[in-house]
Assembly symmetry: C2
């Protein structure tokens, strides 16, 4: 795993755990800017699902991360990877496509699989890590709070 | 125009004008719940683009409306129309699909056309009004603040 992926996966998982500790849905995300070879990658922002914490219908992990990043120029997004602990839903997929983020690294897609096909069809590089810690955390939450989880994915 | 559409289009346009008056991007949205014949439709929430007002990268008109609506159960969304003064971008399209909102009424799609094809491909009813007031307001803003507009659509 290179420096970009090490930074992004750790930040996203930390956010997921933070949300779980707050009683929230344990999905985290991080936006990391690629930089020239030899320089350290830059963590632009991170965030976690805020449905329970903020009664939010839009702040999924990825959306929260993009919101925390604030206003950015188009060329910044185009040199970033979006990290997320869980496969992005169709809303978050749309946000990634809007800003033309070229690469998405997904912790796991076993508990839920969202818009990966649409990302791929639009030329986005998609990496699925099948990470056990992401999967176990999400499985635990779904077993504990199935109604909140269903609400989060519109079911 | 029936009572649902009269309520929704007026609320969305009012939001777009409010945003323009605040110096913001003039795109408004409204979520209206259909009710049984003979009852008045219910305005669940409305909202407008908040890029400039809140330095937000995610609060497009439709997203702001969904956020203002708060947490709703799945069956509420499935009996609603989303009204928006401008064709929804791919992020907002994704949000509409996530919550399986079955109908979208669009003020105009001449100044920008977003994810209408994806809505249609997923069985969403799409109505485009080609409303002159929506188009004129958006055209005026794009001429006045082209950089803010490009940023809002990731360009
Ligand atoms: Ca928090
Ligand atoms: Ca306002
Ligand atoms: Zn999502
Ligand atoms: Zn949008």
């Amino acid at each position: 795993m290179d420096a970009v992926d090490a930074l992004g996966t750790a930040a996203a998982l930390e956010q997921a755990k933070k949300s779980y500790a707050e009683g929230g849905i344990p999905i985290g995300a991080a936006l990391v800017q690629h930089v020239s070879a030899g320089s350290a990658p830059k963590l632009i922002a991170c965030g976690h699902n805020e449905r329970i914490q903020k009664s939010s219908a839009t702040l999924h992990g990825e959306m929260s991360c993009l919101e925390n990043a604030g206003r950015l120029k188009a060329d910044v997004y185009r040199n970033c990877t979006m990290f997320t602990t869980l496969s992005p839903c169709i809303m978050c997929t749309g946000a990634i496509l809007l800003y033309r983020i070229p690469r998405v690294v997904i912790g796991e897609n076993a508990t839920f699989c969202g818009g990966e096909d649409l990302l791929l069809a639009n030329g986005v590089e998609v990496v699925v890590l099948d990470d056990r810690e992401c999967r176990d955390l999400m499985s635990k939450f779904i077993a504990e709070k199935p109604e909140e989880w269903n609400e989060d994915i519109g079911e």
